[in-house]
Amino acid sequence: MIGKWIGVSLVATAMLAGCGQGTVGFDVDLYSWLTGASKDTIPYAAPPGASNLAVSNTPQKISLLPGVGSSLVDTVRITGTMDLRNQSGSGTLGLQMYLAADSAGTYAASAGVFNPLPSASVSGTNTSVLTLTIPNLSARLDSLFTASTIWVRMVASVSNPGLTLLQGKAVLTGLQLRLVVQDKLF
């Protein structure tokens, strides 16, 4: 509770400091939470003929600073990269990321942020790079970012049109969230 109010105080100070027509920005390194909890990797193994096989990691809680509860969310930008380190077979791998206010919420289809899914082809023992970019997230998810925590779950969607096992692991190498709010604190 105290930590919450310290966070509130920091944000309040910043917002009061930015009073006028200023904005308050948050650069949140989502990757630091995921890699710290060993949730940056999704191993995949899709048998021949598999289509859109979903492989998920478990949800991870991310801390945001509290105190922006009444703020107007201006921009939510997500950028990141993922290495697709294939070990065998060939096919395609797409990534969906689910953001929700609690762990269970990340399992709702509506919590998905990518549409369409970013995807890349993989083959042999090559490593492909999947680029993740959302210039401005849908406004329907704005309210998530005015809370003090947010939950993230990643799901790989694997398709294997080949005749051999498609196997490897998707390793997140960076995931940043840029949140800009207008200074309507109160």
């Binding site: 105290i2 930590g3 109010w5 310290i6 966070g7 509130v8 105080s9 920091l10 944000v11 309040a12 100070t13 910043a14 917002m15 009061l16 400091a17 930015g18 009073c19 006028g20 027509q21 200023g22 904005t23 308050v24 920005g25 948050f26 650069d27 949140v28 390194d29 630091s32 939470w33 710290g36 801390s63 945001l64 600073l65 105190g67 009444s70 309507k184 604190l185 109160f186």
Partner: protein, 450 residues
């Protein structure tokens, strides 16, 4: 919760705004405002800081009004914008309103809308940014870093709202009411680096704010003498001394620090940080035993033709002894995870000091021209006012500058039109808010009776 956040914001802004406020003072005389706030007549301000001015003949300061009545054009402006019939729904007064703006409300409290706000001090645009990672926190306040005080900041006031001392042949005796309030805050080094220099938050580091606050007041029977030490009406040295026996009615003081200590990881676990609170307060309530102390004021004034120079010091050696105070201590108990109050210590003798204030001023009067300057230190900061008035028959033109406690230069100008014993005066005064060096302009109007 919302109220708490609002309170926090207001408190923060009070601190931020307090310095310029105390530096400029609240004045109701458009004539003085038009001269940058300088005193060109022997009024209560000069006599309060320099007892020698009790003896200086008033003819040395021509032009002083018997009564000045402010014309509150600002109230018309205010009630036009905020009609009383709409107070119950006015967002200005309702924190629950989506349009409530604490900055606007605080500005109203600290700058009572007595006079017309010709141009409001612009609130600067500023973008601030947080960088957050599991083990990283950087707070970049942008241009606002410049106004984060690196030194101790707050408000200090030492006033005498009532001072009744009738005199006879230079001797005077009476009683005054004295009030001393002082709130000072100091950011700890780590918190200062976090906020002012955007340093990343460090592991196992205390980020704290230290405070010292004191409020005390009472009455003081006083006796003194003000008279001409030597010289004649054209050239003379005047001296004034006053001795006070301070009787304290009530007193309270608190000091300590509040903050938080980071852990091994900046954002980890259910509790991001460990609170750190240590505070000690001592007080003697109204009706408890009174405090006692003695102090003195001394001043002199040198008059040489059209020039008057004065220097006065107040509350020299004013130490108040409170024989029966109660001392409470509070600290954060990390085991219980709450603030714990320790057993009070009763019947403790405590000593407090009143800040020594001094005023130096000079006034030069020649014909229709009056120039003046004063330098005031109230124990916390120094303000400087320089101003002039030129009379052309019934018309007067005025101008002046001042340096406030933020060391910002402010400007005043104006004029007056006199008809017999009555004059209408107009004064313009620049002012700044805590977040900007840009200035707003206030239009002051008053009527003086001579």
């Amino acid at each position: 919760m919302r109220t708490t956040v609002v309170s926090f914001g207001l408190a923060a802004l009070v601190c931020a705004y307090a310095t310029p406020l105390s530096g400029q003072g609240f004045q109701t005389d458009a004539r003085r405002i038009g001269m940058g706030g300088v005193n060109l007549t022997v009024d209560g301000s000069l006599r309060r800081y320099n007892p020698a001015y009790r003896a200086v003949p008033s003819r040395q300061f021509p032009g002083g009004a018997k009564l000045t009545i402010p014309v509150p054009l600002g109230l018309i402006q205010f009630f036009h914008d905020h009609p009383t019939s709409g107070f119950s729904t006015d967002p200005l007064f309702h924190p629950d309103s989506a349009r409530f703006n604490p900055v606007e409300l605080l500005d109203l409290v600290l700058n009572a809308p007595l006079f017309y706000e010709l141009r409001k001090a612009p609130v600067p645009t500023n973008n601030v940014n947080f960088t957050i990672g599991k083990d990283n926190l950087v707070v970049d306040l942008g241009a606002t870093q410049a106004v984060i005080p690196a030194d101790r900041f707050g408000v200090v006031g030492s006033s005498r709202p009532v001072d009744i001392e009738p005199g006879f042949k230079g001797f005077h005796a009476g009683v005054m009411v004295w009030i001393h309030d002082q709130v000072q805050l100091q950011l700890g080094d780590s918190l200062l680096a976090l906020l002012k220099e955007a340093h990343p938050a460090q592991h196992r580091t205390l980020y704290d704010l230290r405070d010292t606050a004191i409020v005390q007041g009472g009455i003081a029977p006083s006796i003194g003498y003000s008279g001409r030490l030597y010289g004649n009406d054209e050239r003379a040295l005047y001296i004034g001394v006053s001795a006070h026996y301070y009787i304290g009615a009530a007193y309270g003081r608190s000091g300590g620090s509040a903050g938080f200590t980071t852990g091994d990881t900046i954002f980890a676990g259910p509790n991001l940080v460990t609170p750190s609170i240590t505070a000690q307060s001592s007080y003697s309530k109204w009706g408890n035993s009174t405090g006692h102390g003695i102090g003195a004021d001394i001043g002199f004034a040198w008059v040489s033709g059209p020039i008057v120079f004065g220097f006065g010091i107040n509350d020299i050696g004013a130490t108040i002894t409170w024989p029966d105070t109660r001392v409470d201590s509070v600290r954060w108990d990390t085991t219980a995870n709450k603030a714990v109050t320790y057993a009070s210590v009763l019947h403790v003798e405590t000593k407090t000091k009143l800040p020594v204030s001094y005023l130096a001023n000079v006034i030069y009067t020649l014909g229709g021209t009056t120039l003046g300057a004063d330098l005031l230190n109230n124990g916390f900061g120094t303000t400087l006012h320089v101003g002039a008035e030129q009379r052309f028959g019934p018309l007067a033109l005025r101008g002046g500058i001042a340096r406030d406690q933020r060391k910002l230069v402010q400007f005043g100008w104006g004029g007056g039109l006199r008809a017999g014993p009555i004059s209408l005066d107009v004064g313009f005064w620049t002012h700044s808010n805590a977040f900007s060096d840009q200035r707003g302009i206030t239009l002051a109007t008053s009527i003086s009776i001579y």
